[in-house]
């Protein structure tokens, strides 16, 4: 997989994700995480190699994957209801049906009663939940989450992580989660993909030896702490050559 920009950011990177898996991708900045996401969502095309979604090769992947960006990117002029209904609106779902579907999900997302508010009236955690709801409503069975919690404070972040796992276990969607937080990656995922830096490109897959459901005490188990230290060491070594 390569990108059109020079030099090739991603080269010889190949991986496979099973349906319903929670995968984290971790790597130092400049390791091509965002390029990877742009490729998967279809915003960019690979210069060589191919991308299969649900086992199919499709040149136009736009609209096929639910994408949740790093910043919430809610439109300030739209109410929460209209922001969340955006992917449905773009797919041509009738307004009433679209709004009905959003309203049904709002309570589950802890957003009951805010449908007519504007994004500026909501806290950071709530805005991220709206953004996640919007990604879910794209109707895709693959969700790409790009450092969604990096801007939140520690407590909100922990709550959001637990909440995300709960939702994922319920819906059984495939989640690809970009983060630079090792602990977050270990706590959430089935496996962690570590992107190595240029020039030697490769993606290392590390399975997380934890069962489900997860809770916060699990990350204090000795083997997880060891894994965490090992990962941090690996990433640090790559940042400072």
């Amino acid at each position: 997989m390569e990108t059109s920009t020079e030099p090739n950011v991603l080269d010889n990177v190949s991986f496979h994700v099973n349906a319903g898996e929670f995968i984290s991708i971790i790597g130092p900045s400049g390791s091509g995480k965002s390029t990877l996401f742009k490729l998967i969502t279809g915003l960019e095309q690979p210069t060589s190699g191919e991308i299969l979604l649900n086992g199919q090769h499709d040149h136009n992947r736009l609209g096929r994957v639910g994408y949740m960006p790093q910043q919430d990117l809610l439109m300030p002029w739209r109410t929460i209801l209209k922001n969340a209904a955006l992917p449905l609106e773009l797919k041509g779902v009738a307004k009433n049906n679209a709004h009905q579907r959003v309203l049904e999900l709002l309570e589950e997302f802890g957003l009951k009663g805010v449908e007519h508010k504007y994004p500026r009236d909501l806290s950071g955690g709530m805005k991220q939940r709206v953004s996640f709801l919007r990604a879910v409503l794209s109707g895709s069975n693959i969700l790409l989450l790009d450092e969604p919690f990096s801007a939140l404070d520690a407590i909100t972040r922990m709550n959001m992580q637990a909440w995300l796992l709960e939702k994922w276990e319920k819906w059984k969607t495939t989640i690809l989660f970009i983060t630079h937080d090792v602990e977050e990656a270990l706590f959430l995922s089935d496996s962690v993909f570590v992107l190595s830096e240029t020039p030697v490109q490769h993606l290392e897959k590390i399975n997380v030896p934890l069962g489900r459901p997860r809770d916060f005490h699990m990350i204090h188990q000795p083997e997880i702490i060891k894994l965490k230290e090992q990962l941090i060491e690996q990433l640090r070594w790559r940042v400072t050559p």
């Binding site: 969502t41 279809g42 915003l43 736009l62 609209g63 096929r64 994957v65 994408y67 960006p69 910043q71 990117l73 439109m75 300030p76 002029w77 739209r78 109410t79 955006l86 992917p87 609106e89 773009l90 797919k91 504007y118 500026r120 794209s138």
Partner: protein
């Protein structure tokens, strides 16, 4: 509450002091055709109310509103065109900028030659003076939309049309209103200048006629009205902005 009253009181007091100073100065000088006092202007306004309100004000309003309407249509049209096509941007932008370096007052007599004393000579001046802020602001507004949101919309399968209507237009709206606020105040100036130079009715025309008759208060009375028209238009744009941009309201 007290703060609010103070913020209103300060400008009111200043205007009052200015008016009183003017009144005293005018009475001291006592040459009404050079410097009429505010009370003389107010009395003149009352005296001429029939002809000012029913003949000249409607004539000027027609010029202003027609000019503004055309300006909005042309301004938005060119802004959208420039936003959509690099060639259009390269072609129009320098012309739009240089059109503002032309002294429009100097052009007004030529418009009179072209269009006669009709409505259109005055509309042309108003259009030329108001379309610049509308075009430039709308164009900047269309380009101000966030690239990240555009990419997000694309990942949702949005078309070019979706991106235009759901992202670029709402992003441009606040900028458009900024342009319109400048334009409405300029439109009054444009109309007044045009009428001053060639018209058979209108507040600018009337003011000039009074000038020829050495009627100082008569010169000022229509100017007061012109100023009020400008303020009213400005307030209307603000009201429209508040209604259509509810999300922007600060707490």
């Amino acid at each position: 509450m007290i703060q609010k009253r103070n913020s209103f009181l300060a400008p009111a007091l200043l205007v009052f002091i200015l008016l009183v100073t003017w009144e005293i100065a005018a009475r001291f000088i006592a040459i009404a055709f050079i410097l009429p006092s505010p009370t003389q202007v107010a009395m003149k306004l009352w005296e001429l109310k029939a002809i000012l309100f029913f003949v000249h004000l409607p004539a000027t309003l027609l010029v202003i509103l027609t000019g503004l309407l055309l300006s909005i249509i042309f301004g938005i049209g060119i802004a959208i065109w420039m936003n959509g096509s690099k060639i259009a941007e390269k072609a129009f932008y320098p012309i739009i900028i240089s059109s503002q370096t032309i002294p429009i007052i100097a052009l007004a007599p030529i418009f009179v030659l072209w269009f006669g004393y009709s409505l259109w000579s005055k509309v042309a001046v108003t259009l030329l003076i108001t379309f610049f802020p509308i075009t430039v602001n709308t164009y900047d507004g269309l380009r101000s939309s966030r690239q990240e949101i555009k990419e997000l919309l694309l990942t949702m399968g949005a078309s070019k049309r979706d991106i235009f209507f759901k992202l670029q237009v709402p992003s441009a709206l606040p900028h458009f209103y900024s342009g319109l606020k400048v334009a409405v105040t300029l439109s009054v100036i444009g109309a007044a200048i045009a009428e001053w130079l060639g018209a058979q009715a209108g507040l600018g025309f009337f003011s000039r006629r009074m000038m020829n008759q050495f009627d100082g208060a008569g010169v000022f009375a229509p100017i007061v009205l012109l100023s009020l028209v400008g303020i009213a238009l400005f307030l209307m744009v603000i009201a429209l902005e508040k209604i259509t941009l509810k999300w922007r309201k600060t707490k």
